[in-house]
Symmetry: C2
Subunit: 368 residues, 2 copies
DNA sequence: GCGGTGGGGGAATGCGCTTTCTGCCGCCCA
DNA sequence: TGGGCGGCAGAAAGCGCATTCCCCCACCGC
């Protein structure tokens, strides 16, 4: 049915080996022969069988990209950037001949640890050339150990691993031989960003700041919360753990969680003058809830987000937030996973975050 | 290095064939034998080689999803939904045994026709089980013919094809044999939605309506524009082609295009009372430009978008737009491409769009 | 003119798995 | 008791390609 190498060889009057060599260009072939082969390939509309090639050459042109949810711009931006890098450099996905580009397999884990593990297995099955893990790690349970195990096996079999926006995995630091070098991390400075954000609020005069955190078991949640509390502590506002927890509500990284959390915070502390959200999406939910309660932003209450997603600047009002250069981070992860860029020292690179002060934060009202 | 079927067979004291049968469960194997094999698999941490399997069985667990840009929520939402369906049903991506789920290969074409073609070749190379093409088609050039050709070949080789948010390809209607049934379309009613949107504006009393269209050669752009003009014509406001074109500016589907286009429209027609944008993202850019010009929305000028992306409700003001059930459409496309749902009659399903009237549109000022 | 040399091409092997095609064994029925 | 049959398992033939090894044939130097 399908056209095979042998068909092309027959038509060009050469052996299959020669066709293979022409296609891969890794062996000298006379110009005239090459031309005949190429013409035959064209005539027959031949397309190599990737599986056969992968099997014979023990290589793969797949790179897995694990994300919590592609529909979330945070991950979409990263995935897009990774994809741009791995599919044949800066320009278009390479044509037939070159083919240095690889295919991105985007895996939606939905934030589920089991799904993450399953996808890792699927990728191992496909002998993926590389894997990019994005989003915060799930901590606490045995999950991180399980992931570490899978990653170790992947790394051992030559798969390059890049953690993007996720802390390094200690278990992977001391892998035998070259495997250790194939695990790299592009981390975000969540802690520092969160700290600067809260410092900004404190500088404006806020003293009663609510915090809408993400799911408790995620590293991203923890780091941002730590940064927030570090700022509080430095300002001498640490308070008791109970007090801190009273002004902290956990939820998911989505709009409705922000909405619910804002209501809850208001119930716990009507004197709130500012709310920091886990991310911009959550912040939008917070704003919606506050507005429905008749509060004006930022006159009555300030709101801040995180990530600086594209829509944040168009929100009402424009959101004060912390910018993470997601596309740059994703691009870098893509280059690393492709082996096109030297690994950073220690295999760890941390991308800076930047405070973006906009219209959703202001000094609290005098009365407050 | 890697553990193979033979290793497992040896450890279990059976032949490779038996191991294969246990793993695939497509042949009777005695319970005790199965158990021994399973234990060996577990002991050895065996993971099948997907390429070898694909080669031998002439099947693949890859499904390509072509999008213009994953970072764009429009495509992210669709991709996410498709992905959810193909990776093992409603729940998590199937574990090791079942394995009915497939992997989604998300391909960012960046809207480039060549990239689209290249990806199609790459997917053919991987003998993809299915391909979902999203986003409007590029019309006019020879591109659609080229795409039709590639799709025809894919379909002929058993790959299921689903066009999502893209008009049917006429050349593919009369493929020989079963191939015709493997091409399906989930279209969006862009035309109808656009028409209802403009009718809404007309009903409010607007008579001078600017239109910020997408790239001229895309089918989506054309359909929305047609709907818009159909509404105008029905209201007896058709005007001359020149007049229509004067109030139409083309750009990309991004924020900055909307920004620039709004300025241009204002220059051409200061008396504008409403602007319809190609999509919500563009509408945001339009709003930003208008606001900078000191115009209030909707008091001075109304703005409408399209798609009803998640952020639209949180924009300032909340955007009037046309909702496309993207996740449902994507999920349907996913089911179709997996063969889990019977193809719609004629292979064509059209998803309805719904007018969402919100705060960005209102009656024009009396003076205008 | 002869052995040497090296560029170019073919034959054959194997990658790891699926899948006939056989074949063995124990059981039932005549 | 013997022929058959059903339930299982093994042997082996590929799937389509990359690659190693080998060979052939100019062409060169002596």
């Amino acid at each position: 049915m399908a056209v095979t190498l042998a068909d092309v060889a027959a038509r060009a009057g050469v052996s299959a080996a020669t066709v293979s060599r022409v296609l891969n260009g890794n062996y000298p072939v006379a110009g005239s022969t090459r031309e005949r082969v190429l013409r035959a390939v064209d005539d027959l509309d031949y397309v190599v069988n990737g599986h056969a090639r992968a099997l014979a050459a023990a290589t793969s042109d797949l790179v897995g990209v694990l994300v919590n949810d592609v529909a979330d711009p945070f991950f979409g931006l990263i995935a897009s950037a990774v994809q741009g890098e791995i599919s044949g450099g800066a320009d278009q996905p390479s044509g037939l001949p070159a083919g240095a580009g690889k295919l991105a397999v985007v895996c939606n884990t939905g934030g589920s640890p089991e799904a993450e593990l399953n996808y890792l297995t699927l990728l191992e099955r496909q002998r993926a050339a590389g894997v990019v893990l994005t989003g915060g790690a799930v901590e606490g349970t045995g999950h991180s150990t399980a992931v570490a195990g899978r990653l170790a096996r992947l790394a051992a079999s030559g798969t390059r691993i890049v953690l993007c926006g996720r802390p390094p995995v200690p278990e992977l630091a001391d892998l035998p031989g070259a495997a250790a070098d194939s695990v790299m991390t592009v981390a975000f400075d969540n802690r520092g960003g969160a700290q600067r954000l809260t410092e900004h609020l404190l500088a404006l005069g806020h003293r009663t700041i609510g915090y809408v955190a993400g799911p408790a078991e995620r590293s991203t949640t923890r780091h941002r919360l730590e940064g927030h509390r570090a700022a509080l502590a430095e300002a001498g506002l640490a308070g008791s753990p109970a007090e801190l927890d009273r002004l902290t509500v956990h939820g998911y990284y989505d709009r409705s969680s922000g909405y619910d959390a804002a209501l809850e915070l208001l119930r716990r502390e009507p004197g709130l003058t500012a709310v920091v959200a886990a991310n911009d999406t959550v912040a939008l939910g917070v704003c919606a809830a506050l507005r429905e309660r008749g509060l004006r932003i930022p006159e009555d209450i300030s709101v801040a987000g995180f990530d600086d997603l594209p829509f944040s600047v168009d929100a009402a009002p424009a959101l004060t937030t912390v910018r993470i250069p997601l596309q740059e981070a994703g691009a870098r992860a893509g280059r690393l996973v492709m082996g096109r860029q030297a690994p950073p020292p220690g295999g760890l690179a941390t991308v800076r975050t930047e405070l973006m002060v906009r219209a959703s934060t202001a000094a609290p009202r005098k009365g407050a």
